[in-house]
C-alpha cells in the first residue's frame, strides 16, 4: 500500500544572524504514514515538532530532505492557483491557538462557505455541506451566525477543524490542538478526532508535548529531542516499553499516582550522559 505521507531526511536550521551559524530545529528526520493512520509527534518545547509540522504543510521550507504526499514529491517552486488548491487537498493544519486561528470578522457560516466555494463545491450543495460539516464536528447549526468572539475555546477549535475538513484533505496536522483547552473539552476534541478519522479516513499527524494525549488518538509515536527522532514505534510499545531514556523521562514527567519528581531529575541526568557521549 502506498504511503500517504513519506518524509525523508528532513532538515531545517534557522540563522541567528547572517553570520552566526543556525540553530538546527530539525535534523535528518524520516517517517511514513499510511491512509487513515495516526502518528503522534512528541517532545518538549524547542524539540522541533512545530517546525516539522510547518514544513509538512508547506509553511516553512526545509533546507534538505523530501516530503511526499501519495508518492508525489512536494515541489517548492510550484506556483499558481491550481498548485495551491492541489496542495490544500493534500494536507491541512489545525493550530494551537483557538482564539487566533479564525478570522474575527467572519461568521462561522461565511468562513465555511468561503472555503467550500474556493474548492469548487457546487453552490447548490454548499448549504448541505455546511450542515454536514457542523454535524461532523458536533456543533449546533444555531452557531452558524456566530463570530469567533461569541464562541468558547472548544467551539472555536471545532470550527477550525470543520474548516480544515471542508477542503477534504488526505492528511490533517494537529499542532497542540488541545493545549489551550480545559481537560473536559480536551477529551471531547480527542474523541471527535478519533471519530472523524474513522469516518473520513483522513490520516492524522498529532503534534503535542503531552504523551498521554497523544497515546489516546495515535497508532504510532515519534519522539523528538533537539530536532532528532530519538525513538519511533507503535504507541503501545513506546508508552509501555520506552527504549530511550528521554522517552522514559517524558513519561515520568506527567504527574500521576506515585509520581516522583526526583525520578524525573535522575532520568534527565542519565539521558544527558547518553546524549553527550
Amino acid at each position: 500500500m502506498t504511503d500517504v505521507v513519506r518524509v525523508t531526511g528532513l532538515r531545517k536550521a534557522f540563522d541567528v544572524t547572517r553570520r552566526t551559524p543556525g540553530i538546527v530545529a530539525v535534523e535528518n528526520l524520516s517517517f511514513r504514514l499510511g491512509k487513515a493512520d495516526a502518528i503522534g509527534v512528541v517532545g518538549e518545547s524547542g524539540s522541533g515538532k512545530s517546525t516539522l509540522a510547518r514544513m509538512l504543510v508547506g509553511l516553512t521550507r526545509p533546507d534538505a530532505g523530501t516530503i511526499e504526499f501519495d508518492g508525489r514529491v512536494r515541489e517548492w517552486r510550484e506556483r499558481g492557483r491550481l498548485a495551491r488548491l492541489r496542495r490544500a487537498k493534500e494536507v491541512q493544519m489545525v493550530f494551537q491557538d483557538p482564539y487566533g486561528s479564525l478570522d474575527r470578522r467572519l461568521t462561522v457560516e461565511t468562513a465555511l462557505r468561503n472555503v467550500l466555494r474556493r474548492h469548487q463545491v457546487d453552490s447548490s450543495a454548499v448549504g448541505t455541506r455546511i450542515a454536514e460539516l457542523m454535524d461532523s464536528v458536533g456543533l449546533e447549526s444555531r452557531l452558524l451566525a456566530s463570530r469567533p468572539h461569541q464562541l468558547s475555546g472548544g467551539q472555536r477549535q471545532r470550527v477550525a477543524i470543520a474548516k480544515a475538513l471542508a477542503v477534504e484533505p488526505a492528511v490533517l496536522v494537529l499542532d497542540e490542538v488541545t493545549s489551550a483547552l480545559d481537560v473536559s473539552v480536551q477529551a471531547q476534541i480527542l474523541a471527535l478526532l478519533t471519530d472523524i478519522r474513522a469516518r473520513t479516513g483522513v490520516s492524522l499527524i498529532f503534534v503535542s508535548h503531552d504523551l498521554a494525549v497523544v497515546g489516546k488518538v495515535t497508532d504510532s509515536i515519534l519522539v523528538m529531542y533537539r530536532g532528532q527522532a530519538v525513538e519511533q514505534g507503535s504507541t503501545a510499545d513506546v508508552l509501555r516499553r520506552p527504549q530511550h531514556p528521554y522517552t522514559e523521562m517524558l513519561l515520568s514527567s506527567a504527574p500521576g499516582p506515585g509520581w516522583r519528581p526526583e525520578r524525573v531529575a535522575e532520568l534527565r541526568a542519565a539521558f544527558a550522559v547518553v546524549h553527550d557521549r
Binding site: 504543510v57 495551491r84 488548491l85 490544500a88 493550530f95 486561528s101 474575527r104 470578522r105 480544515a164 477542503v167
Partner: protein, 283 residues
C-alpha cells in the same frame, strides 16, 4: 492607571474620558460638520461681505462673535470656514492614508529588502520636520490649498506607514493568516481581502486622532500663508488675518477661530481614543 484600595483587594482602573465628555465631543464635531454642510443656509451674513462702518465690532446681538478688521461677521466666517478646514483635513488624511497604508502593508507583507528600502524611505521623510517638507513641496510646485494638502499628506504618510506596518506584522503572525494560506489563497488576495480589513478597526481610531493633528497642521500652514488665500475663511487664515487687531488689544478676530480649532482638535482626540478602545475590544 490608578490603583484604588478597596479593603484587602486593590482594584486597578484605567482613566478614560467620562461618557458625558465623549458625547460632548461627538456633539462638537457634529456641529462643525453641520456647519460645513449647511453654511450657506445657517450663516447670518455673507462671509466675504465687508462693512467699513462696523470694523472691529464687539460681540452684539447683530454680530454674536463681533466683526473683523474689514467689518466681516466673524460667526459667519467661522461657520463658512468649517468647510475648507474640515475638507482640507479629510483630503490630507485620505491622501496620507492611501500612501501610508500601501507602504506599511507592502513592507510588512514582503519583509526582507522591500521592507528595508521602504523603512529607509520613510526614515528620510521622517528626518524632515513636517512643515519644512511642505515648504519644499510648495517651493517646487505652487502655493495653494491643493499643494498644502499634498505636502502635508506626504509628511503624515510615514507616520501612518510605520503604524500600519506594526499592526500588519502583528496581524500576519496570527494563525488564521496561515490557515488561509493553507486553503490555497494567494498572497495578494489574502492581503487585500482578509488581512487589510482586519487592520481597519485599529487604524480608524488612530486616523481620527490624526485628523485633529492634520486639522491643526493645515491651519498652521494657512496661518503662514502657504495654503488657503484670502478671501477664504479657513480658520488658520482667519487667525493670521486677525492678529493685526491683537496689537490694538482686539483679540476676538484671532482668538475665536483659534479657539474653534483647539476645541475641534480636542474633540477629535477624545473621540479617536474612545473609538480605538471600543474597536480594539471588539476585535
Amino acid at each position: 492607571m490608578t490603583i484604588e484600595a478597596h479593603g484587602p483587594v486593590a482594584v486597578a482602573t484605567t482613566r478614560k474620558a467620562a461618557p458625558g465628555v465623549f458625547y460632548l465631543c461627538l456633539g462638537i464635531l457634529g456641529l462643525a460638520v453641520v456647519a460645513a454642510i449647511l453654511a450657506d443656509w445657517i450663516a447670518p451674513y455673507d462671509p466675504s461681505a465687508t462693512d467699513f462702518s462696523a470694523l472691529y465690532q464687539q460681540p452684539s446681538s447683530a454680530h454674536w462673535f463681533g466683526t473683523d478688521q474689514l467689518g466681516r461677521d466673524i460667526l459667519s466666517r467661522v461657520i463658512h470656514g468649517a468647510r475648507p478646514s474640515l475638507l482640507g483635513a479629510i483630503a490630507l488624511l485620505t491622501f496620507a492614508t492611501a500612501v501610508g497604508v500601501l507602504i506599511g502593508t507592502v513592507a510588512a507583507w514582503k519583509r526582507g529588502w522591500v521592507d528595508a528600502v521602504l523603512a529607509r524611505v520613510t526614515d528620510v521623510m521622517f528626518a524632515f520636520p513636517g512643515l519644512l517638507f511642505v515648504v519644499l513641496v510648495i517651493a517646487v510646485f505652487d502655493r495653494g490649498p491643493g499643494t498644502a494638502v499634498i505636502g502635508m499628506g506626504l509628511a503624515f504618510a510615514p507616520v501612518i506607514a510605520k503604524f500600519t506596518r506594526a499592526i500588519a506584522l502583528e496581524e500576519m503572525a496570527r494563525p488564521y493568516v496561515d490557515a488561509y494560506r493553507l486553503q490555497g489563497i494567494g498572497s495578494v488576495e489574502l492581503c487585500v481581502r482578509y488581512v487589510l480589513p482586519n487592520l481597519f478597526p485599529t487604524l480608524i481610531g488612530y486616523l481620527v486622532v490624526l485628523f485633529g493633528e492634520g486639522l491643526m497642521s493645515l491651519a498652521a500652514l494657512n496661518f503662514l500663508g502657504f495654503g488657503a488665500q484670502p478671501p477664504s475663511s479657513e480658520w488658520g487664515l482667519m487667525v493670521q488675518e486677525g492678529r493685526g487687531g491683537v496689537i490694538q488689544g482686539i483679540v476676538g478676530p484671532a482668538l475665536i477661530p483659534g479657539l474653534v480649532i483647539a476645541v475641534v482638535v480636542v474633540a477629535t482626540n477624545v473621540i479617536g481614543v474612545r473609538l480605538s478602545d471600543k474597536l480594539a475590544v471588539k476585535a
